[in-house]
Amino acid sequence: MEKEKPQLIKIAPTQEGYRWVAITAMLLAIGIILHTVSPNVGGITPNWTIAMYSIVINLTRPTFKQALGIGFIAGLTLVPSSKSAFPLGNIASELCGATTCCLLVKAMCMSGLENWKLRPLITGFCATFVSGGVFTLILKFVLGLPITVWYKAMLPLVAVIGVLNGVITFLLFKPVRKLFFAQGQEENE
């Protein structure tokens, strides 16, 4: 007769201490490379960096402070390759994008949407929209553009890129999760 299964003790993995740093660094690096080589089609280029940190945040669910760190580093990496009139605006916009993504992920997890398949798509879109919105708003002030240019021309473009980024985040989330979190029975025997 089979023995009765004892009460199992649940423990959190200790590996998570630094793993999020490694994953963030790797994905941001990939994001920078893709950001540099991606062609501009009809004025629209996906923002790979935002897509990558959205994946990271969805995967590792960092604290608010850690998300600020991720956003700051992501912004810094974009400054040297930025072709905009105010490259430093990337730091502020990515700080906003990363924290938006972090807050959304936390809110979704708390409201039972932890395993919702569309979570990466929604968070990827929102992070991009907020980040792009902030960046273009900064540009509007720096260049002294009228507010109508911002919300009639810039924001719709940001929304399109947001959709594109949401789709990228959604499509890449699963393979990346499989790559970094291959802990199931199949992979581990």
Partner: protein, 289 residues
């Protein structure tokens, strides 16, 4: 013989997964060369990870029971604490190589453990010599062949002088000559230092001449464990596990079942030929019958 690894009513499940190991009660004897066999997905690798402390404390999950290594529970121990006692070589050994040169690679773990520079140099040189790579301290890793890189990793493990070395399918990607050569080397280390070896292996024929004990894992449970003689008979009796036995032992089991004759445990084809000749099997089973 004293035991160095003890599993006591051990259960384990990865995070959000079903149980991978169930009711594991197991003892590995000091100085043994234990081979772990089992179908894919049976829990062999997870069993090895439990010995090195990677599960449950590093990877997290749910567990019950305990694993003792060298008399001490692995509970709450970091992988780095255990790595002084237990060395691990993964199937994907390349993922464990972290340095640019062979010398740096071997020295890496020693330096992390705080060994003095003189001792690091001495141990590095000795470990490289032990694995047949003497004087290669300054070689870049890409100057070494795949087999040499695997031996380099073995040198890194040996340099720490662990009492137990766990290897997960070390010859899975090797040609037969490479596989034989690696097991010869492991056997030499086993005899020279009395290190306890636990090896997960699908290609059992290569490790057969050196194995002292076997563990058969099936569906996360121990199906058989003990000396080769005991496990060979028990595993042969299970049609699902029988195919995992080395071909020599499958033939032995089949012959024994057909003729009722008793055979010793063949380690090499030559042993089988000699014994079959001695028992009058020349010309086939039917001739004997």
């Amino acid at each position: 013989m004293a035991s160095v690894i003890n599993f006591k009513d051990f259960y384990y499940a990865y995070i959000n997964e079903k149980l991978v190991l169930r009711d594991i009660n197991l003892t590995v004897e000091k100085g043994s060369f234990t081979v772990v066999i089992g179908p894919s997905g049976a829990g062999k690798t997870t069993l090895c990870k439990a010995i090195t402390g990677i599960i449950p404390y590093y990877m997290g999950g749910s567990y019950a029971g305990d694993v003792e290594v060298l008399g001490e529970s692995t509970k709450g121990k970091r992988v780095s604490d255990l790595s002084l006692k237990v060395g691990l070589m993964l199937e994907d050994y390349e993922s464990q190589l972290v340095s640019l040169t062979a010398g740096e690679e071997v020295a890496f773990s020693l330096l992390n453990h705080g060994f003095p520079a003189e001792e690091v140099k001495e141990r590095t040189s000795k470990a490289l010599e032990d694995v047949g790579l003497p004087g290669r301290e300054d070689y870049q890793l890409d100057e070494l062949s795949g087999g040499q890189r695997q031996r380099l990793l073995l040198a890194s493990v040996l340099a720490v002088h662990p009492e137990i070395i766990v290897l997960d399918e070390p010859v899975s990607a090797m040609d037969p000559d490479g596989a034989e050569s690696l097991y010869k080397l492991l056997s030499k280390i086993h005899q020279e230092y009395g290190t306890t070896f636990v090896v997960v292996e699908h290609r059992v024929e290569f490790v057969l001449p050196y194995a002292t004990n076997f563990i058969a894992v099936k569906d996360g449970q121990i199906a058989a464990a003990g000396t080769c003689e005991v496990v060979a008979d028990q595993v042969y009796a299970d049609p699902e596990l029988r195919v995992l036995l080395p071909e020599l032992w499958q033939v032995r089991g089949e012959l024994a079942a057909k003729t009722g004759a008793h055979f010793s445990l063949w380690r090499k084809p030559a042993d089988a030929v000699d014994e079959l000749k001695a028992q009058g099997f020349e010309g086939g089973v039917q001739a004997h019958a």
